[in-house]
Every structure is written in structure tokens, then in C-alpha cells.
């Protein structure tokens, strides 16, 4: 047993509040415990964040010394014709992901919350795709999206006399196809969050609504949805933040094609930094990363103001 490094006067009462307890004034011990965090966060979180800011105003590659170029990187990103395409595609992806990925989990969760026996089975089924590694899901769905008449989806469509559809091979349908896979892969997590919120609605509220003679539809509209409003808004924000950073799916499905129809902002950052035949343009990549981060920060702030306004009004 190690020795006590610091003797506390015996008269001091046992501290009951959740304040600091003075175990040791020996800063060295505390520092030893903080060291792993300071080293790891310092090197791999705090330092790179600062470095991103610095790099965005530098011309940086691994060969020559970085030079200060002001806002040149930002200007070059904005002048890049691919930039507009990537922003439009990412917005399109987010919108589609919202159209597919917002109502489906709500409906599923409401239906599942009314299941009285075996709800665990429903939840497990809904969540299962979430634990499949994204790379596996994408590669698997590439077979589903095979554009030949013998592709999986085209076979199923053939049964009802439709198709074959080109899926990933046409500029028009490539992005919706990616969104469908991404919804399949991610919706389960949202369902579980909604389900937890729905189960936490106090039963007394429904009892009161019953006394007032409310119909089932009225109960959903006037009790259930208002109660899970903040959770809905939270997942909406999380979903938008996640979809703005979509990467693995477009990279592995289409590499941004056909015709840059699925080139997203993250894919463009990746191209700037790692797929550049002239060597990585890290300055441009950092500039675009910061622009995306700033956009998401504005978004997050807006969310906080909105929830504050709501919580004070109701």
C-alpha cells in the first residue's frame, strides 16, 4: 500500500458535499495521472486544431518550407469549379437523407413503442445494420445496385415488370442510391434514440388526454410529438452535421462519379490533400475543412438558440 503523501488534520469533518477532496498536495501525482491525457490530446487534438488554422493561410506540402499566403487558399477553393459542385451535391445528399431518414425512424419508433411484448426483438432488428462496418455495407450494396438485369434490385424489380434501373451508373440516380444505403445503415441508431424518448413520455399525460376524450391521432399530435420535440430537433441537427461530412459511401460507391455527380465536400478535401498528382495541397484542404467547420458551427449555434427559445417559451 502506498503511503499517504498528505496528512489532513484529524479535526476536519468528513466532507459530504461533492466538492474537491484534498487527497494530496503533491502535484506530481496528479500530474502523473494527467500525463496520458495531456500527451494524447496535446499531440492529436489540440495541436492539430491550431495547426489547421495556421495551415489554411500557408502554402504547405511535405517538400518545401511552408510559406504564408494569406487568404489565397480560400480564394483558390472558392474559384475551383469543383467546389460549387461539391457543395451542391452535399446539400442534395443532406436533403435526400432528411427526406428518407427523418420520417422513417419516427414512424418506426412510434409503432415500436406501442409493442407490448418482444420490443427487444424489434429494437435489435432495427439496430443491427448500424453495427455492420460501413465498408462492408457499401461493398454489399454495390452488388444490390448492379445495373445489369441480373443485379439484386433489378431482379426484384423484374418480378413486377419494372426496370432495369441504372442505379449508381447514372448521374441522376447515383446520389439517391447512396442515400438509400446510408439510411439503411444509420436509421437504426435514430430509431433507438426516438424509442427512448417515446418510452419516457409520462403515462399520466396520455391518461389525461383519454379523460378529455382525445383520439389516438390527437394523442400523437398533441402529446407524443410535442414531448419528443427537443429530441427530434437534436437528431435533426446531428443528422445534418453527419451528412455534411459524408465520405466513405461516395468514395467506395462511385469515387465521386459519374461526372462528379456524387462528389461531396469531404471527397473534395480528400482529393486536394491525398489524390493530387502534384503532391498534396494541404493548404487548400485545410481551408475547405475550416469553411465546412465554420458552416457547421453556425448551424450548431442556431440550434442552441432555437432550443433555448423553445424551452423558455414552453
Amino acid at each position: 500500500m502506498s503511503t499517504i503523501t498528505d496528512a489532513v488534520p484529524a479535526t476536519q469533518p468528513v466532507e459530504r458535499r461533492r466538492g474537491a477532496i484534498r487527497l494530496t498536495r503533491d502535484g506530481l501525482t496528479t500530474f502523473a495521472f494527467l500525463l496520458p491525457m495531456l500527451a494524447v490530446f496535446g499531440l492529436f487534438a489540440w495541436f492539430p486544431i491550431l495547426r489547421a488554422l495556421v495551415m489554411s493561410v500557408q502554402e504547405t506540402n511535405l517538400v518545401s518550407e511552408p510559406t504564408f499566403v494569406g487568404l489565397d487558399n480560400f480564394a483558390r477553393v472558392l474559384a475551383d469549379p469543383q467546389f460549387g459542385t461539391a457543395v451542391a451535391n452535399t446539400a442534395w445528399f443532406s436533403l435526400l437523407a432528411l427526406l428518407f431518414g427523418f420520417p422513417v425512424p419516427i414512424i418506426l419508433a412510434v409503432l415500436m413503442s406501442e409493442v407490448r411484448r418482444g420490443r427487444g426483438l424489434y429494437s435489435a432488428l432495427a439496430y443491427l445494420p448500424v453495427v455492420v462496418p460501413p465498408v462492408v455495407s457499401v461493398l454489399l450494396w454495390r452488388f444490390f445496385y448492379d445495373a445489369s438485369a441480373h443485379g439484386v434490385f433489378n431482379t426484384v424489380l423484374g418480378w413486377i415488370g419494372l426496370g432495369p434501373l441504372p442505379w449508381l451508373q447514372s448521374s441522376a440516380s447515383a446520389m439517391p442510391s447512396i442515400v438509400v444505403e446510408s439510411t439503411w445503415a444509420n436509421a437504426g441508431a435514430t430509431v433507438i434514440i426516438y424509442l427512448a424518448a417515446l418510452v419516457s413520455v409520462p403515462p399520466e399525460l396520455y391518461d389525461a388526454a383519454d379523460v378529455d376524450g382525445a383520439s389516438i391521432r390527437q394523442k400523437i399530435v398533441n402529446v407524443t410529438l410535442p414531448h419528443i420535440r427537443s429530441v427530434l430537433l437534436l437528431t435533426l441537427m446531428l443528422q445534418l452535421i453527419a451528412t455534411a461530412q459524408v465520405f466513405t459511401e461516395p468514395l467506395l460507391f462511385t469515387s465521386g462519379g459519374p461526372n462528379n455527380a456524387t462528389l461531396t465536400v469531404l471527397l473534395l478535401i480528400y482529393r486536394y490533400a491525398f489524390q493530387n498528382s502534384l503532391g498534396g495541397d494541404y493548404g487548400m484542404a485545410a481551408a475547405l475543412s475550416l469553411m465546412l467547420a465554420a458552416f457547421l458551427a453556425v448551424f450548431t449555434l442556431g440550434y442552441y438558440r432555437l432550443t433555448r427559445a423553445w424551452s423558455t417559451s414552453s
Partner: protein, 313 residues
């Protein structure tokens, strides 16, 4: 050391009710349930929901498992047919040995294990220091940790890569070393905050008692705080392993040697040169461990309120 009744006092942060459905009611009331029409509608809705989950949610995975034991030609000609020419288990064996899925799976396990260890070491020591030892700057440090949650990971991608290429101060090149994956995984603010919150809720009287009995800070950490924190350590562990398993972009960038790459990085490059049936068998093998972990620790995943609630606090 006197026996302490801490087992009875474990904070019940991670046990929200989920199977309390027998005792509570939902939107549809008991009297609604007694109406035959509503009962009929609800039952059919449940069946439709279950069918939807089975076909849409589970269906793609079942197809993957089916095709991993179906000869390639059958899958190509009739992807939806059920074994027109019998089952071919040899594809699984071929994927395992000839395609070297065994090696890549081992790489993934090593990467996951290391990331898990680093995450636990960083999060428990930091949580202990910030919650129990409380140095003078602990508030500021906690703030700096929380701040990183609000920085989207994409901002870190390029500077983190350059850091790994040439680690500052020690000028080490970590490309093709697993440390390049393990150490950045440790910088997880969510882990530190989760564990700190949990430590905050441990009863201080026990620390006092241990101190009176002569336990120093290291002893307190090892013999009291860690054993009392098994629930939260379990949560962090499972999520650490699953997250590492799912990771693709970062190992793709920093592990260049194909013999060292994990499954997720190897699979896309293997596809063009691999027989279709064998490749789908490889996909199935790659999903087995995450799915097994999920089935084993379902409660951790599905009581999702536990995790998000703990973060929001």
C-alpha cells in the same frame, strides 16, 4: 481496509428501463385496446412493422450470408434464388486462407485492442485526475477537452495526418505503425467526459474512508475507483471496439503496407481480383465479430438513452 458497502451504492446511471412495457401504457390506452377494431389494427401494424424490419433491415444481411455459401455462378445468374445448385461452404474457407482474411482480421483485432487499451488508459486516468484529484486547472482542462467535441473531425484530418507523418518534438514518422491509429483514438473527449461524469457520481464518503485507512491516490484509483466503475468501463470498451472496427478513412491514410492493413481497408482493394462468392464470404466474415458483440451486449446499445443521457447529463 474495512469492508465498504459500495456494491449496494453503485450509481444506477446505465440502467434506464426499457422492458418496463408491461407496467406502463403508451399512446393507445387500455380501454382502446379492449375495442376489437383498434386491437385488430394495432396487431396488424405490429406485424407489418416486424415484416418491414425483417425484410428491409435484416434482408440485406441474410442475402450476404446466403450468397457467401452459394456458388458464384448461381449468385450471378439468379441473385435472389435460394441455392439452385446446392450450398458451397468452400468459399468461406477460401476467403479465410487464400484471400488472407485471417491476416487482415488479425490486424483489425490488434488495432481494435490497442485503441481500446489507449482509450481506457487515457480516459480513466484523466477522469480520475479531473474528478477526484482536482488540480487547480481542472476546470480549464475539462473545458479544453469538451471543446474538441465541437470541432468536426474533418478539421483534424489533414493536420493530424501531417502530425503522424512527422510527430512534433520527437520527429518520429508513425506511418505504417499501429501507434498512428492507437494514439489518436485515445483523444476521445466523449470517453473522458463520460468517465469523469461517472466518477463524479461515486460516493465521496468511500474515498474518505479509504484515505483514512491509509490508501494513497494510486491505491484509491486501482482498488476502489476502477472496480466501482465496471459498468461505464464496459460501455466505453464496447463502443471503442465497434468504432475501431468501423473506421476506414484514417487507417487507409496511415497504414500503407497491405500486410498491416485492417479488413476495412483491404476489402475494397481485394474486390476486383477476388471471385464474387469468395468476396461475399469475406464480407460475411468481416461482419461476424461486430454483430456478435452487438448480440452479446445488446443492452448497452439499445438502452441508448443511457449513453446519450449520460453525455447530456
Amino acid at each position: 481496509m474495512t469492508a465498504l458497502p459500495w456494491r449496494a451504492r453503485q450509481p444506477r446511471v446505465l440502467r434506464p428501463r426499457v422492458d418496463a412495457d408491461a407496467t406502463e401504457r403508451g399512446i393507445v390506452s387500455g380501454s382502446d385496446w379492449r375495442q376489437r377494431r383498434i386491437r385488430w389494427v394495432m396487431r396488424s401494424l405490429h406485424i407489418v412493422t416486424l415484416l418491414f424490419l425483417l425484410i428491409v433491415g435484416l434482408g440485406p444481411l441474410l442475402w450476404m450470408i446466403k450468397s457467401s455459401v452459394t456458388p458464384t455462378q448461381d449468385t450471378l445468374r439468379a441473385p435472389m434464388a435460394l441455392w439452385p445448385h446446392g450450398i458451397d461452404l468452400s468459399q468461406l474457407a477460401t476467403a479465410w486462407s487464400r484471400t488472407h482474411i485471417d491476416r487482415y482480421l488479425f490486424n483489425t483485432v490488434v488495432i481494435a485492442f490497442g485503441s481500446w487499451a489507449i482509450q481506457l488508459i487515457v480516459a480513466t486516468t484523466a477522469g480520475y485526475a479531473l474528478s477526484v484529484l482536482r488540480p487547480r486547472f481542472s476546470g480549464l482542462l475539462t473545458g479544453l477537452v469538451i471543446a474538441t467535441i465541437f470541432v468536426p473531425p474533418i478539421v483534424l484530418l489533414v493536420p493530424l495526418y501531417l502530425t503522424v507523418v512527422d510527430v512534433p518534438l520527437i520527429h518520429l514518422r508513425m506511418i505504417d505503425s499501429y501507434w498512428a491509429v492507437w494514439l489518436p483514438a485515445g483523444a476521445s473527449a466523449v470517453n473522458v467526459i463520460l468517465i469523469k461524469r461517472f466518477f463524479d457520481n461515486l460516493p465521496r464518503e468511500i474515498f474518505e474512508a479509504a484515505r483514512v485507512d491509509g490508501a494513497g491516490p494510486f491505491r484509491l484509483f486501482r482498488s476502489i475507483v476502477l472496480p466501482m466503475s465496471r459498468p461505464i468501463l464496459g460501455v466505453v470498451s464496447v463502443f471503442a471496439v465497434i468504432a475501431t472496427w468501423k473506421d476506414y478513412l484514417w487507417p487507409l491514410l496511415v497504414i500503407r503496407n497491405p500486410n498491416l492493413q485492417p479488413l476495412s481497408v483491404r476489402l475494397p482493394t481485394l474486390q476486383p481480383t477476388t471471385d464474387l462468392g469468395v468476396f461475399i464470404a469475406a464480407l460475411t466474415i468481416s461482419s461476424l465479430i461486430p454483430i456478435a458483440l452487438f448480440l452479446l451486449f445488446q443492452r448497452l446499445f439499445l438502452n441508448g438513452g443511457g449513453l446519450s443521457g449520460a453525455i447530456k447529463g
